[in-house]
């Protein structure tokens, strides 16, 4: 990955690890169990609000299942983080993270992924959309798009 400091100076950084769908599922499970534990404590401790808490527990269980289900299918809604701006360029595009004042230069494929994120598509849709637009016989586009999205998440340039 290449970044640029606040003065527009580009420099190299290493690319991050590649995300697999299994990693998404594991994180969803962790989130799922965390919510149950938290609400379980509330049910034990609060008498007068017990019914409300039980309902909240049920709601959270359902909500967590939905998050888990979507994450397992790779359909996590995504958008650029609050302080991230995207601009198209001839070479692809740039992402500017204005809090750290770093700029990331994107090649055309990466820029296409960011355009999809800006359009409000989730990860699964993005990959589908790109593979519809380009020939991808060996799955290269899918692999690279998934890896790129993982990088964006890791660097907190997107929020789910």
């Amino acid at each position: 990955m290449t970044t640029v400091d606040s003065m527009g100076n580009f420099f190299k950084t290493s690319t991050g690890c590649r995300t697999k769908r299994r990693a998404i599922s594991i994180s969803a499970i962790l989130c799922f169990s965390g919510i149950i534990e938290q609400d379980g404590d509330r049910v034990d401790c609060v008498d007068s609000g017990q019914i409300v808490c039980v309902w909240r527990l049920r709601f959270n269980l359902l909500h967590s299942w939905w998050i888990f289900h979507n994450a397992a299918l790779g359909v996590t809604p995504m958008k650029l983080a609050n302080y991230v701006k995207f601009r198209e360029e001839k070479f692809g595009g740039v992402l500017f993270e204005t809090r750290s004042e770093k700029v990331y230069a994107l090649n055309p494929t990466a820029a296409a992924v960011v355009r999809e994120i800006e359009a409000g598509r989730d990860e699964g849709d993005i990959v589908r959309h790109l593979t519809e637009r380009y020939r991808d016989p060996d799955g290269t586009i899918e692999r690279e798009a998934v890896a790129f999205i993982a990088n964006l998440r890791q660097m907190k340039l997107v929020q789910d």
Partner: protein
């Protein structure tokens, strides 16, 4: 619609250039515009590189019509990041209207201020308008050192201003200019910035230009003081890692400028009268927003860095560092 061929790339984020290339030339517009919206200021700081102060507004500062016409160009060319500074930007009669214009069009805007106009009402307004950050200059951890640097300034008022920003929920940055009489407080100032809620802290070497030319003998820290100063900053960077970013430039001006000759920043400096400078530390002007479009100036900017006069000025600095004293004698490229 038929499928296009996809050319596989080894690394999806390989950019248009590498670290050794001039990538700025590939951009269709600047990434950052630092606009000194007025030279007027309520303070007369010893080190001010713009020689701002009470009654120091340029005679030919842009009028409201020109200001908004220029802002419109910034928005149209999708400049992602802008800052308003001065002088003191908050004394500009159109200040809040300008902030509103940029923020309403999804621009990321930083305000660089001395903090004296950060009343609770103004901070609330900045929050409502959704400015990206407010950077406040805090050149001391005590009233005594602060006042020596910021002539006419009020330490307590500045601190109160920063607290008002925090109460309103505006992201805060703190800037510190070193002098012989305040460098010993650097650790305390970094701690104070964190306590006040800053998420970033900036400092570097004080430049020999503007007001500093007249006050250099009592202003400039010795190299020994700078060594200690940067030593503390290295320590504080580690101490606050993950909580507040501590940025500082140890590089001297000459090294910085030599670096910029090879790697121009994607940054334009706009003066209160619409002239556009190559970089603050050089006297060269590469455009005039009253007469040229931002697109034309951006094209000039690329060529201006290759102008032999710029290279010569930088190399002459090696033999004569005092050349920076003439930064306000603009040279048009």
């Amino acid at each position: 619609m038929g499928q296009a061929d996809y050319e596989s790339q080894e690394d999806i984020l390989v950019p248009a250039a590498t670290a050794d290339d001039n990538v700025t030339g590939d951009l269709r517009a600047p990434l950052y515009i630092a606009w000194q919206i007025t030279n007027e200021c309520n303070l007369a700081c010893l080190h001010c590189i713009e020689e701002s102060g009470p009654g120091k507004a340029f005679k030919d500062e842009l009028d409201a019509k020109q200001v908004f016409s220029i802002l419109e160009q910034f928005v149209d060319l999708e400049v992602p990041y802008l800052s308003f500074s001065g002088g003191e930007p908050m004394v500009h009669t159109q200040f809040f209207e300008m902030v509103k214009y940029v923020c309403a069009r999804n621009g990321q805007l930083k305000i660089e201020t001395n903090g004296h106009y950060l009343t609770p009402e103004n901070c609330e307004r900045l929050k409502e308008l959704n400015v990206k950050a407010v950077q406040v200059s805090l050149d001391g951890a005590s009233r005594e050192t602060f006042k020596r640097m910021r002539v006419g300034g009020d330490f307590d008022k500045t601190i109160e201003g920063v607290r008002n920003l925090r109460a309103a929920g505006v992201p805060i940055e703190v800037n510190f200019s070193p002098a012989s009489f305040n460098v010993h407080e650097i650790g305390a100032v970094v701690d104070l910035a964190y306590e006040l809620g800053a998420y970033s802290f900036y400092t570097g070497r004080t430049m020999y230009t503007g007001n500093a030319v007249k006050t250099w003998h009592r202003l400039t820290p010795s190299e020994e003081q700078y060594d200690k100063f940067f030593g503390v900053l290295h320590k504080k960077t580690g101490e606050y890692r993950g909580r507040m970013r501590v940025y500082f430039h140890e590089m001297g001006l000459l090294e910085e400028l030599r670096y910029r000759l090879r790697h121009p920043a994607a940054l334009l400096i706009v003066l209160p009268n619409g002239l556009v400078k190559l970089i603050n530390a050089l006297p060269f002007v590469c455009g005039d927003l009253r007469r040229q479009t931002l697109g034309e100036i951006w094209a000039n900017f690329q060529n201006a860095w290759k102008d032999p006069r710029v290279t010569k000025f930088v190399e002459d600095l090696a033999g004569n560092p005092a050349k920076t004293a003439a930064l306000h004698q603009w040279v048009y490229l």
